[in-house]
Symmetry: D2
Subunit: 334 residues, 4 copies
């Protein structure tokens, strides 16, 4: 469903080329100061047109508070934030109705919703909706920062290269799109966050992470490499009563609970589905497999825009877990 | 929390050395034939003592139906299945109260529950509870098989070796524990399973998968390798109106929805935390970091026992999604 | 929380004098035709200014589709409907900040949200939000009508009088506000709706009903009168295999499940809290109990506006239960 | 579904004549002392055979802790409590398979579950399951008592008589069963419990209350009588900054939130469906409406057994709301 979270609960809506996209945040404490300016930095980070390798589509992306904010402060009632869709060129897409783009949700959305889906620009499946995640993430991060916690995600690999520019150059040289790896770290977390059995910290983070379009994998701590380590090598020796460990192969989570060490995890982002290269796909009118080219400009590497989105979903998950552990009160005294 | 699922909903309980472990399954259709014998194969697969590299601890693991089954048939009321804990030697563990085992939940459980947790043998955090997942999985698989669907998970790597025996030999030679990779495949799935935005098929599968102890990563289709592919290389060309694709790099999920191709995903299992090697950990009585050795016998490679558990959680997730799509009725005519 | 429902799930937001109020409907099938005109009749029924005894505050109440509707048809993605707040006179209320109105949520909202609540006109606690329920109800009723079901609520008592006009005259004569009883009936329901143990049909209906402001009681079938009947008198004799009964004291629900007979229940609405009569309340600035008069015009009998709201929440509950029983598909062929 | 609650969450299971009935409580804080003796008083209050007018069926009703309790203290893991069904005489019921008892769930259960339901003694729909509610209620009450809160329900009317004995005599004289009214009061509650919009305190209490078999209505404060009062008469004047009011017509809830005054509400219980009087019902084998007599002994007035059950569901709801407001910690220091 389009909702996530138990106490701090977000509900997302909208389509890429519909009137708007938006998010509703229930369970946000009263008394949190909140103004549109708070969103500037993260919305800017998410935008295309800034970095080499991202699309130049300009979106104003002004957050409109529709409920839950009064006198620049949250009221305790649900906060609703809307983003209008201005810079859309639907004609780009309507011609492609018969040609489901490979790697995109066009075909599956048609199958699930019987052809009634808003197909323009990916509709409800578009990466456009991640601006809503970012908005909710801004609020969640403000809650976390009241506990001196900060979440930081960075791009750690593009097209297999640690150096972003080198990775992008591979895309440019090949006239193709490329993928990447994004890493997220949170330090200062209290021990004990996460709820056995099914709501382990990894379970909730992974759940939220796979809502981000283009994510294909997630790993905590040493992750897949752990499968090739010896136990004596992988185990982190506990060094003091706070639970601090000598190494951090666990990435800050043991038994599904945060253990007081730095939370570290990574996600794999597939190459942008819209690539400059010609591809093949089914034409639903002719019923033939045909050559197909993406019109317009697209991100060469969508992974570059993911860090701020990953921070957002991480903060959303942690805010909820912190509330379950009674670390965040219902009324903030700021 | 200890519940998972929206319509087909499981609730798990119990501790390793308490009186019992068990699971409650709500939303199971009426009319499904069910007898204790149905559980034999999968419970046997999960057991130690059979394969080289797994622990010889013998557990009877008889499923006791406590509710929801009448005349060997589900009634539509919640099914509760209990497993008694017989073969426990708590004295092995009580001495270790002061010495939280590295890699285990001992320390974090103590922090979360203030020392009130049942610490014996890992308590509620023990791998023992996976027998309950297996039991619910048997029921979920029976529901899937009524739609001609089958779930199959296999060990694909032990200690970095494709050949299980070679991988185990590495553990034996090193007198240490090792990890592994388990792969799961489901064919015949209808297109359109998964719920945007937050309940994508990957989100729900990953959520459930990380409830399995020792899982450190999950990847769908080409997974992490996708981050190093070009878009034109990664995209799967759609070949017919059912959505069948030429390749299956997506692993059967696009846009968070199953696309009618084979579902393929892999999980990374860390090396067994209890290793024969001497390790170091904090002694909470002396407050010193001390040498520590695991008593008793343990699995050299816990990954060997995971396939049947992975099948179980996969079937549980799919049964729920199939119900949401109205593919499974409330009353079965078997 | 501000969400309700399991498959057909509504999320409400907004404040009386904020920018807007709105509702998000998740789980609505794709393919339902929907245009703003569909809302006219029910929104009109809810409005004040039409009937004697209701407030003349004019609200335009135009439903703006913000997501989930494309080509006048639902897409399967969440539907978001916004109503702007135009006709507000906040100055009426800001002066009263120090004087919590008796019978209203002013005082409790302040206590719960620490003074950060939007206090203008009742804020998030205002009856204004019922326009959102009505909007979701229009959609739910359209789903029900595809199954030939209709929901009808009527005012059955005003100020103790069966004759509405007589009841209102009592209010006018006394220069005071009055309460009333509203009855709801649904015929044609299939047997078996409702989910034991906690989601009985009565449980879910009552849950939703008490979200409507001013409701003080709910009773099914003979309701409170049942407590004074003999068993042989109250039991409804089953007459045929459809479950049809000779009498309908049960009001169409037995054992928490609909029994195929007409669903009948009633709710009690308290007199409008804003009464023309002078009252007493605490002044939070002076800390004295003082005389207090409501400014502006208000409904003499808010119960008159409740029937359409009661129909709405009833339809919302039934749509969800019908989906759980697989009576409503995910894609409508209209 | 068979679960209820957001943080303090109960899951119920079992059938009247199956092997057992039981309840699982998730979200119970660690550190609560708990022994089987804690349950004696309330289980005894619920039992038949003690009061005039209740059935003499003796049930041992020993609570078996299956999980979540260690050293007579809750561990923070889910608590599972089982009650075995000993004193059952299924033969009483199996003959009646073809004759759905009027007022009971026999017919609707058959329709919902296609004849697969455990029909013996009402199966999953039996009042037998209320022993599980009582057990969870004992735990919830212990949590409340740590905040100096106590819940008290009393029978306030039997067969229309304030004097229980008189009411019962009416049943005995008429050789018929009778109904009653039960009232519940809780004092000392903090203001602000309840969650707008859909989880008002009344919504959650009503939801839980209608899970109790035989409940036909619920009203808060003056309830249905409020519909016949004037506004100036019904409004409770606020007298001090704690929110204390001069009168308490609201029954302690305004705007869906507790207001710091005594919580007062009443429920209507229908006459026991199993009455000594001969009745008529459909015979599903002959397809004729036939005379029908209840075999065995039954409660003349089931309402007499309800107070302790009403206390239980009230305490369950309040424990959850208190946790949402962070009034109950995750670890108790007792």
């Amino acid at each position: 469903m389009n909702s996530f979270g138990r106490i701090f609960r977000v509900t997302i809506f909208g389509e890429s080329h519909g009137e708007s996209v938006g998010i509703n945040i229930d369970g946000c404490p009263a008394g949190l100061s909140l103004s549109p300016e708070d969103f500037n930095v993260d919305i800017e980070r998410r935008k295309g047109g800034v970095q080499k390798g991202t699309t130049p589509r300009k979106e104003d992306d002004i957050p409109f508070f529709k409920s839950g904010v009064f006198n620049n402060t949250t009221t305790g009632a649900p906060v609703t934030i809307l983003f209008e869709n201005n810079n859309t060129r639907s004609s780009d897409y309507s011609k492609q109705r018969a040609v489901p783009r490979p790697g995109h949700a066009d075909m599956v959305a048609r199958q699930k919703f019987g052809g009634f889906e808003d197909f323009r620009g990916g509709g409800h499946f578009s990466g456009r909706l991640t601006v809503c995640l970012v908005a909710a993430g801004v609020i969640a991060k403000k809650l976390l920062s009241s506990l001196k916690l900060s979440v930081e995600a960075t791009i750690s690999e593009v097209a297999g290269e640690k150096d972003t520019e080198k990775g992008l150059q591979r895309a440019i040289d090949a006239k193709d799109s490329v993928g990447g790896i994004v890493e997220c770290r949170v330090s200062g977390l209290p021990a004990g966050l996460g709820e056995p059995f099914f709501d382990s910290a990894e379970s909730l983070l992974a759940h939220a992470v796979f809502a981000i379009p283009a994510v294909r994998g997630v790993e905590f701590g040493t992750g897949f490499a752990a499968a090739r380590m010896f136990g004596s090598e992988h185990n982190d020796a506990i060094e003091d009563t706070t639970g601090k460990t000598r190494t951090n192969h666990a990435g800050g989570i043991v038994g599904g609970l945060t253990n007081g060490n730095e939370l570290v995890f990574r996600i794999a982002i597939k190459p942008t589905s819209s690539t400059p290269k010609e591809q093949q796909t089914l034409n639903l009118e002719t019923n033939n497999v045909e050559a197909f080219s993406v019109k317009g400009r697209h991100d060469l590497c969508i992974a570059l825009r993911v860090p701020v989105v990953l921070e957002a979903v991480t903060a959303i998950v942690l805010a909820d877990l912190l509330m379950l552990e009674r670390h965040i009160p219902r009324i903030l005294n700021s």
